[in-house]
Amino acid sequence: MQPHYNTPMPSANDDIPALAASIRRDRVERARRMTFAQKFYAGGDLFDAACEVTKAGIRHQHPDFTESQVLAELRRRLALQESRELRNLTQRLAP
């Protein structure tokens, strides 16, 4: 779905909080216009798109990699991110 920017952008003289508020209002308005199904699919689609970009980066970094090696590297990075998040959560939960 193409984004629609209905909110007028603040001028260069406006401050950062006004710009942030404008972006926020625009995001909320766009979400309100989306159907339940569109919102359901958006989260997974964003993840799939991010994985494709990451895989393209891995291929660029390792031109000799086979597709299964690219996938293994993607999984390694996802696992790394997950373990980092888990570690942060565990630290926050620690008494």
Binding site: A21, R24, R25, R27, V28, A31, R32, M34, F36, A37, K39, F40, Y41, A42, G43, G44, D45, L46, F47, D48, A50, C51, L71, L74, R75, L78, Q81, E82, L86, L89, T90, R92, L93
Partner: protein, 192 residues
């Protein structure tokens, strides 16, 4: 198979096994708020007295999925879960056992059914996303949970939400102050 197809496939398998479930986590905050990327899907399931029939579930999901047969204790949430992975995409699905926590029981009773691609899928309600995310935020101060709550409040608007229900559970969880702050923040941003 895309992430969304994986989620719908797991939901269909649970339906076939007559295991009551609902989608929670970011999939549920996405449908009630502002969608963001998610690398996993969390289901809450009502465990049959005989346990989850892992062999049947694996068979229904097919060879592209790996189902961990162990019911694992998750230290962060304090709940039991099964983990399903889809190795070729890196996407993960967690099946959390419905706990005896009074709010968890209540949100499961209030779950709502929605049609997606000619398939019915069960979700927790917007009110329960708010209650649960605030509960998490009070516990671990994770900005993502706070942002998800604001996204749901702003997108749904307080006029639509059952605030009596939300306030009741926030009182039970001693998180009412956080709720009121976020409601006020949402009102203020609407006014600007």
């Amino acid at each position: 198979m895309t992430s969304n197809q994986i989620v719908l496939h797991v939901a269909a398998a649970l339906d076939q096994l007559v295991i009551p479930y609902m989608l929670v986590g970011s999939y549920s905050s996405n449908v009630h708020g502002i969608p963001r990327s998610t690398n996993d899907a969390d289901f809450v399931i009502e465990l049959p007295s005989t346990g989850v029939p892992i062999t049947e579930l694996s068979k229904l999901l097919g060879p592209d999925f790996r189902v961990d047969p162990q019911l694992l204790f998750e230290t962060v949430t304090g709940n039991y879960r099964y983990i399903i992975t889809h190795p070729s995409s890196g996407f993960k699905v967690e099946l959390f056992h419905l706990s005896t926590d009074p709010h968890h029981q209540e949100r499961f009773r209030r779950r709502v059914r929605r049609m997606l691609d000619h398939q019915e899928v069960w979700f927790q309600t917007a009110e329960d996303v708010i209650i649960q995310k605030i509960r998490w935020y009070a516990r671990i101060q994770r900005a993502k949970d706070r942002d998800d709550v604001l996204d749901v409040i702003d997108t749904q608007s307080p006029a639509i939400l059952d605030l009596v229900y939300i306030r009741h559970w926030c009182d039970q969880h001693a998180t009412r102050e956080i709720l009121e702050k976020l409601l006020h923040e949402s009102e203020s941003s609407e006014a600007t």
